[in-house]
């Protein structure tokens, strides 16, 4: 309650014979006096709004009293200070104005997703529309309208997205993509790339020069690129699929009695505590010396608290005794295995479309516990290769 006066209140002193009558008249005139104190018998001091000062003076004059302003209001003090520091105040105003004005300017125009040629065209159109560096954003149409207009003006775009991010205009361009024209291959022949017997022949374009079951050698023309006769003769890019029967000879060596690792069932365990990577064996320290041949497995149990892995782990190493056993296999099994191995060998050599038609054992012999088998395969595969026709020779 001590500071009930506002920024526009002034502190005045009313001196006269009967200052109380000034208070009463002020009440009647609805002048609001605040914090009235009596400093001497003929003087009262109070706060009033600076706008009410002339009316108070009028009232005081009616009662033969005089009014003296002791302290001016806060606002008046500020006004005086501002007048004193006019340059400073002007600077603040100028700065604020500049800040607001500059923040309303376009500082950057970004175009994304367009080829350089198209980008240049879009930039040119935008400059024509007024969207360029240094333009005032509040003078430009809304992004939606800019989007509509730039789409109308620019050819070769499917869509342009316009977005205003602060002082930047961001354009996202989706270019029109036309389907690419199919590549026309140059005139060519189709030739055989290996010796084979033609199994089937399908020509899409060109003239077939071979028959089914005909033997062809590497480099023979299968489908010619020359078509027509006399003055209608011309060259085309021969296209087609020729499958031929080819032969492969595969030699496989496999042992008659393969060896296998088996466990005997005896095992020892070793317990190790792992602290910060340092391994401290606790139990079963000679487990690794118990067997000559063994298989080792290690189980690690990490200690974790609330999802955090502690640097302490409990390791259990299991040593299981093992032994090599010779497996006796029948002759049929050995041959089956050999065939399988041979087929795998062939398949790794063949590329593209290929089918194994038939396999025959040509020769087999046993030697030093190993079986050597020679197999013959008939394979049907694509035998085409392309040879361009060089003209003018």
């Amino acid at each position: 309650m001590s500071k009930q006066h506002g920024p526009s209140d002034i502190f005045v002193q009313v001196t006269g014979k009967r200052p109380e009558s000034v208070i009463n008249d002020s009440l009647r005139e609805e002048l609001i006096l605040k914090n009235i104190t009596k400093s001497s018998a003929q003087t009262i001091e109070c706060f009033i709004t600076s706008a009410d000062l002339p009316r108070l003076e009028q009232i005081a004059a009616d009662h033969d009293c005089s009014v003296e302003v002791i302290r001016i209001s806060l606002l008046e003090k500020c006004a005086i200070l501002m007048k004193k520091r006019a340059g400073f105040v002007a600077g603040i105003l100028l700065f604020t104005a500049a800040l607001i004005l500059l923040s309303q300017m376009v500082w950057k125009v970004e175009i994304e997703g367009a080829q350089p040629v198209l980008q240049h065209e879009i930039e040119k159109n935008l400059t024509d529309m007024g969207v360029s560096k240094g333009a005032f954003a509040f003078l430009l149409p809304s992004p939606e309208q800019i989007q509509k207009e730039i789409l109308e003006r620019t050819d070769g775009t499917t869509w342009i997205g316009v977005e205003k991010r602060g002082t930047t205009y961001h354009f996202e361009v989706v270019e029109q993509t036309l389907p690419e024209e199919a590549e026309v291959p140059p005139p060519r022949h189709i030739t055989a790339n290996k010796t084979a017997v033609i199994h089937s022949i399908y020509a899409e374009q060109g003239q077939v020069l071979v028959d089914r079951n005909q033997l062809v050698h590497e480099g023979d023309i299968l489908i010619s690129g020359f078509i027509g006769k006399g003055k209608h003769a011309r060259t085309v890019a021969a296209k087609g699929e020729v499958l031929g029967e080819t032969w492969y000879k595969v030699t496989v060596d496999i042992p008659v009695k393969p060896k296998a690792d088996t466990l005997t069932g005896r095992s020892e365990r070793k317990y190790i505590l792992d602290i910060f990577g340092f391994e401290l064996p606790l139990w079963g320290m000679d487990a690794d010396e118990a067997f000559d041949i063994f298989k080792k497995t290690k189980n690690t149990h990490d200690a974790a608290v609330f999802g955090y892995t502690l640097p302490i782990a409990w390791n259990v190493e299991t040593y299981q005794e093992s032994r090599l056993v010779n497996q006796a296999g029948s002759k049929n099994d050995v041959i089956k295995q050999a065939k399988k191995a041979a087929e795998n060998k062939i398949k790794s050599q063949l590329t593209g479309k290929a089918d194994i038609k038939e396999g025959k054992i040509l020769h087999e012999e046993s030697h030093n516990g190993k079986v050597k088998i020679v197999l013959h395969y008939q394979v049907i595969e694509e035998i085409t290769s392309e040879v361009p026709i060089i003209q003018g020779e």
Binding site: N24, L27, E30, I36, A41
Partner: protein, 102 residues
């Protein structure tokens, strides 16, 4: 004579109908907070004001407030807030003597 009749009628109405007196009668309503503040409603003006004594005019009679360090915090046409140390509030009821000052 008519005023006197009206006044008596008002007394009778407030007494019989159990109405708050300050609504109908032109009497002041004082609100005092300890010795610190005194809020006076329905006063009719300041007769005397000094740091030790405030005399307020009422419709009938006057109100004398004694104490020290008085400051009138706000004063409105019929409301007044007095601050200071209040020792004594007394009514000077001399309406028979026609004690309307000023």
């Amino acid at each position: 004579m008519f005023d006197r009749f009206k006044q008596n009628a008002k007394y009778w109405v407030t007494g019989k109908m159990n109405l708050p007196e300050d609504v109908l009668l032109d009497v002041p309503r004082l609100t005092m907070i300890g010795q610190l503040h005194l809020h006076v409603e329905n006063h009719r003006g300041v007769l005397h004001f000094s740091k030790e004594l405030v005399r307020l005019k009422l419709t009938y009679g006057e109100l004398a407030i004694k104490g020290h360090d008085f400051v009138i915090k706000t004063i409105l046409p019929n409301e007044l807030l007095l601050e200071g140390t209040i020792d004594e509030v007394s009514y000077l009821n001399d309406k028979e003597a026609g004690g309307i000052h000023e």
